[in-house]
């Protein structure tokens, strides 16, 4: 059987890659996709602990996380579209209308 640690290391690696993507890229769409990657890494953790304890509660939590990811993607992409229609840019450091 594959040890639980290996799954945790895989999830950790994906999580950190997602954090690097959110913090370093300028493109807002890539940042949103990195957030999806982070949520996915969390799902791996929930799944492996659900398997470890032999209960399906972790899988139910994962379903709620996927629901949140869908809602977040819909609203986030709507905001990006509205912003692009106004300012013709998708770069995060040019979004400074509210900066004083």
């Amino acid at each position: 059987m594959i040890p639980v640690d290996y799954y945790l290391f895989l999830s950790l690696t994906l999580f950190v890659i997602g954090v690097v993507g959110v913090l370093t890229r300028r493109n807002v769409i890539i940042m949103l996709m990195s957030i999806e990657l982070i949520l996915n890494a969390v799902n791996i953790n929930l799944m492996v602990f659900s398997r470890m304890w032999g209960s399906v509660d972790g899988q139910v939590f994962a379903i709620f996380i996927i629901t949140d990811a869908a809602a977040e993607a819909a609203v986030g992409l709507g905001i990006i579209l509205a912003f692009f229609n106004n300012r013709e840019t998708v770069l995060a450091d040019e979004m400074d209308i509210m900066k004083w």
Binding site: M1, L37, A74
Partner: protein, 172 residues
């Protein structure tokens, strides 16, 4: 059986990590979206290894078939050529990478701290293949987690209305 499991795990893990790295570093957003789809499919394979068949199919249909199609639509609507010729990483990238490494070190320490012999171990799989996963998930979802389920539906309704209001083209 044992070696097959390990080989599948290594295959899916390497595929997921490699395409995640490519997703974060590529200049073209469409390539990034395709690499993210590859990562999500590899994760679905990991779910299947963990005997979570319902989440496997939810991942494939909802994430890959729903959310990523939404991303690709938006990528088509925004102007790709301009953003491809600009600088891709922001000025604070070095600080950000250092912070991410510190975060990784903290997580590694947390995993190492709870690691005792025999504490983190998966139980042996059931002898006969009993397809009870979807039933068990449905039982938990519709009995014990009924209220969160309804709240999630309200959340989806709010998100739907919000997305429509945000993306509507304003006239005048």
């Amino acid at each position: 059986m044992q070696t097959l499991n390990q080989a599948l795990f290594i295959f899916f893990a390497v595929l997921a990590v490699a395409s995640a790295v490519l997703m974060v570093t590529r200049r073209n957003i469409v390539h990034g979206a395709v690499f993210l789809i590859t990562t999500l499919l590899a994760t679905a394979g990991i779910f299947l290894l963990l005997e979570a068949e319902f989440l496997f199919i939810v991942q494939v249909i909802l994430y890959v078939g729903g959310i990523m199609v939404l991303f690709v639509f938006v990528i088509m609507l925004v102007n790709l050529d301009v953003s491809m010729r600009q600088v891709q990483f922001n000025r604070q990238w070095f600080v950000a990478a250092t912070l991410a490494l510190v975060l990784a070190a903290q997580f590694l320490y947390a995993i190492w701290a709870v690691r005792r012999p025999g504490m983190l171990r998966l139980p042996a799989p059931a002898a006969e293949l009993a397809p009870k996963n979807t039933e068990a998930v449905a039982d938990a979802l519709f009995s014990h987690y009924m209220l969160p389920f309804e709240i999630a539906s309200i959340l989806l309704l709010v998100a739907m209305i919000g997305a429509v209001v945000m993306a509507k083209r304003r006239v005048g």
